[in-house]
């Protein structure tokens, strides 16, 4: 058994930030990564738009990852590459399979979960029709394109308007393929506004809302798809059905946190985020186990992932040093009208930790498009924050900063329509 103060699982942006932040607290830190290199999915993100908030400059995903990678490798964080965590136990022991060392048992004082997320595959939405070659997740097409210089197709229909789909619409176009359209079953896009403008509008790629692929045609290879509009109950409107000839379908239909590793150890999970339920320190329901980044909830911006990693890493290090759990009493953060989820879901009642500046930042996503509305936060019947905004949309993660002194009980966060003037 090898002992470490803090063990971080996953060497993507969340894990690297957590490791760097923990190591500053003079604890021993182990970062475990299954790939042969740190960086996670950023390694295949050659587009720009990263780092605007964190570094105040615009970087590509690979550049962003490299800055963190350099810092980690020049720090005293112990990095295990090519290493796969097989098992975690609630007592914070881990079983790791590593190319160099075989099976290793590691005991940690605290653990930071930073395993990221995966793409929802075609099977999850059960598209009817044939099952030929040519139906891929956008992320797979991205990896093949950006790392191998190969394209999965030349005439492409994208289903789902998540950010990776939008990014790939642009990337495939720049690489010489024809992206015919992006179909989105919801009446709004799931991606960032900036991506819709820069990736679709600037390249004249149409975005069809309330539209889906009803079935795929092609025995060996995709030959085409039928698309159709859906009504407000998601039923296909048969009269709108039409055939689109294409050779590939890329899917950008959602991301799922990869929490299988902790499925059996009793961490309380949120059905909405599919990540752990955490307090403002990103501690889960098991003391000393923290969660951050896309394994906790799916982010739009890597900058926020890094910040969350730092937060979790910092508190994991403090926990490892003191091993004193925070008080048991926690206030709940409750998503009400219009808000799909807010995170953290809990705030420590006895000693609100916050972010050190007397504030607690709440992240949230809305459940639909709300224009001319305000986000309103209430505590014990009092309104403690109100912020109007022209548009709230589900594709953009929002945040509000609460003063710790205002938090005296459960918090309700909701969207209110503002009266038209």
């Amino acid at each position: 058994m090898i002992d470490f103060d803090v063990v971080i699982i996953g060497g993507g942006p969340a894990g690297m930030a957590a490791a760097l932040s923990a190591i500053k607290q003079d604890v021993s830190v182990l970062l475990i990564e299954r790939d042969k290199r740190l960086g996670g999915v950023l390694q295949q993100c050659v587009h720009n738009g990263f780092g605007l908030h964190y570094f105040n400059e615009e970087l590509t995903g690979t550049e962003y990852a490299e800055r963190f990678e350099q810092s980690v490798l020049s720090s005293s964080v112990k990095v295990m590459l090519d290493s796969f965590v097989i098992d975690i136990k609630a007592d914070k022991t881990l079983t790791v399979m590593s190319a160099e060392e075989g099976i290793v048992h590691i005991s940690a004082k605290s653990i930071v979960l930073a395993m990221g997320c995966r793409e929802r595959p075609a099977g999850a939405i059960a598209i009817a029709g044939d099952r030929p070659c040519g139906v891929w997740t956008a992320g797979f097409a991205q990896k093949l394109c950006n790392i191998k210089g190969k394209l999965v197709g030349k005439r492409i229909v994208i289903l789902g308007s998540g950010d990776i789909g939008l990014i790939m619409a642009r990337r495939m176009t720049y690489s010489g393929a024809k992206v015919l359209m992006v179909c989105e079953i919801m009446p709004y896009s799931g991606g960032l506004k900036r991506n819709i403008v820069q990736c679709l509008e600037d390249n004249d790629i149409p975005l069809y809302l309330s539209t889906t692929i009803t079935d795929i045609v092609g025995k060996k290879r995709v030959e085409g798809v039928h698309i159709a509009q859906v009504d407000s109950k998601m039923n296909v409107i048969e009269s709108t059905k039409r055939y689109i000839e294409c050779d590939s379908v890329l899917l950008s239909i959602g991301l799922i946190p990869e929490n299988e590793l902790i499925r059996d150890i009793g961490v309380e999970m949120s059905r909405i985020t599919q990540g752990a339920v955490v307090d403002e320190t990103r501690q889960t329901s098991i003391s000393g186990i923290y969660s951050c980044g896309n394994v906790l909830h799916v982010h739009d911006l890597v900058d926020n992932v890094s910040r969350e990693g730092e937060l979790a890493g910092y508190h994991a290090a403090l926990y490892a040093k003191s091993s004193e759990p925070l008080g048991n009493k926690k206030y709940k953060v409750i998503a009400s009208e219009g808000v799909r989820y807010a995170l953290p879901q809990l705030i420590n009642a006895e000693n609100i930790v916050g972010d050190g500046s007397g504030t607690v930042k709440l992240f949230f996503r809305v459940g639909g498009v709300y224009s001319n509305s305000a986000v309103v936060v209430k505590c014990e019947g009092r309104e403690i924050l109100r912020r109007p905004k022209p548009v709230f949309s589900p594709g953009e993660m929002e945040s509000v900063v609460l003063k710790t002194k205002d938090i005296t009980g459960d918090i309700y966060i909701g969207i209110e329509n503002l009266p038209h003037n």
């Binding site: 097989i86 029709g129 190969k150």
Partner: protein, 480 residues
């Protein structure tokens, strides 16, 4: 090239007969037009070894099903394909008691051992998530679950180590009956043989026509299925059927030998044996009907949908010598063909072939090919030692199923090495988990390309015409 026996069709039936013949003095060749064995009905079915109460009394189906089911455990012990003798349940509400008695009586006449009617209380002890209005059940302890494609691959591999030949990507295009041989031509080669066995499944009628035999009228029914994530696996312990109706066994819920939950099939008439496109109406039917027998099914946990076609001729199997006793028809093998497969092979080799011109004699020495266990199946200390020796066994390629590079090396160097991504998936489960290959496909492509000394551009999903990569950005003149 001259063979004693040529089998056309590499489904579970063709491979069962191949394996049995490989244990004899016969020189035998199997021709399969797909790029792998088990690419037709044998890969897309319920994966259930039925006990045999369902088949009509006095039919080949009844006789061979009951016998086949009894042979499975031995075959599993010899060859180690995934098979679990779970037993099965037919579930009925209180109006369905007579229907269950009907099945029970039929089962007893068919010779199904140990059938038992259970009350709701008894059912709940062994199957906790039955629907609330289920009152009775018929328990058939000899039923089980099997991975139909792994069984088929395993049979082919074992036939090969015993001297049989399996040629995939070879479609029979010409057959000529000579004085005492057959000439068989494929898209690639010409062969001759003494005995020809038609196991072509959906293509059986086409082969009969080429051979100048009587051509049967075939019917085709498509079955759509949902596959649920392994996290649902523990919810249901047995294949659970509703009472059968005129359209077949109805929509069932079953654990699979691979550790998922399967819900389906529908039964929809289609034009030919290759109409495997899924219908959205079929999926709806599954969602609505499955809740009649069990509760708690979570369709948000769906990881895949698929469909298979059951090709039939009349109501029974057609297993007989043709106009020429050296031509053997094994046709219309729809359900319970998988369950009957070991018995079908025995019937063909030990009985029908007696009338043929070859003299079948079993060999004394039989080779058994056992696949290496997957890294994830090894005890920790053994895995540790293995990794120390071969670090590839620590490199997880498919993280959903925890399949390592070492596992894949073994599969890629097996007696019937996979040529396509789908074939790798059927042997090693890589790409079969909840991410459906999102993470591992590229690495699998690289490993396949290395194995065959080709570029990743040449790697296909399921054979010719299904290349993953359509163009190289830097070498395609049409690209920017």
């Amino acid at each position: 090239m001259k063979y004693d026996v040529i089998i056309i069709g590499g489904g579970v039936i063709g491979c069962s007969i191949l394996r049995r013949l490989s244990l004899t003095n016969q020189r035998v060749l199997l021709l399969e037009k797909g790029s792998d064995v088990a690419v037709g009905a044998s890969r897309a079915n319920s994966g259930i070894v039925h006990a045999g109460y369902d088949a009509e009394v006095g039919t080949l189906k009844a006789r061979l099903n009951v016998k086949g089911a009894a042979m499975f455990m031995d075959l599993h012990r010899q060859l180690e394909f995934p098979y679990v003798n779970t037993g099965s349940l037919v579930l009925a509400n209180k109006e369905g008691l007579n229907g269950l008695y009907g099945l029970l009586n039929k089962g007893i006449i068919n010779g199904v051992p140990d059938l038992k009617l259970l009350s709701r209380k008894e059912l709940l002890d062994i199957e906790p998530n039955i629907a609330d209005d289920i009152a009775f059940g018929l328990y058939a302890p000899t039923a089980g679950i099997v991975s139909p494609y792994e069984l088929t691959v395993c049979l082919a591999e074992n036939a090969i180590v015993n001297g049989a030949t399996v040629n995939t990507d070879e479609e029979v295009v010409f057959i000529k009956k000579n004085a005492d041989t057959y000439s068989v031509k494929t898209n690639r080669c010409a062969y001759s043989c003494t005995v020809l066995i038609n196991c072509a499944g959906a293509g059986a009628a086409d082969i009969d026509k080429l051979a100048g035999e009587k051509v049967p009228r075939m019917t085709y029914k498509r079955g759509d299925y949902y596959v649920l994530d392994e996290s649902e696996y523990t919810k249901y312990r047995h294949p659970c059927f509703p009472l059968p109706n005129s359209n077949g066994k109805g929509i069932l819920v079953t654990p699979t030998a691979d550790g998922n939950i399967l819900v389906g099939p529908t039964s929809i008439k289609v034009a030919d044996g290759y109409c495997t496109g899924i219908g959205s109406e079929g999926l709806k039917q599954i969602r609505e009907n499955s809740s009649k027998i069990v509760k708690g099914l979570d369709f948000r946990k769906v990881i895949r949908v698929f469909a298979g076609v059951r090709s039939g001729i009349g109501d029974d199997f057609v297993i007989e010598s043709g106009m020429n006793p050296d031509y053997i028809k094994v046709e219309g093998i729809n359900s319970p063909g998988l369950s009957a497969s070991p018995a079908i092979a025995e019937y063909v080799v030990d009985e029908l072939m007696l009338a043929s011109s070859v003299n079948v004699v079993y060999k004394d020495d039989v080779m058994v090919y056992k696949r290496k266990p997957l890294a994830r199946e090894l005890p920790e200390d053994e895995l540790h030692d293995l990794i120390k020796e071969h670090s590839e066994f620590s490199k997880v390629v498919c993280r959903c199923e925890k399949i390592t590079e070492g596992d894949l090396d073994a599969v890629l160097n097996s007696p019937l090495p996979p040529k396509t991504l789908d074939a790798v998936k059927r042997r090693a489960r890589a790409g079969m988990g909840r991410c459906q290959g999102g993470f591992c496909t590229l690495r699998l492509m690289e490993l396949l390309a290395e194995r065959y000394g080709v570029s990743i551009d040449d790697v296909t999903k399921s054979g010719e015409g299904s290349n993953v990569i359509l163009c190289d950005i830097y070498n395609d003149p049409h690209m920017v």
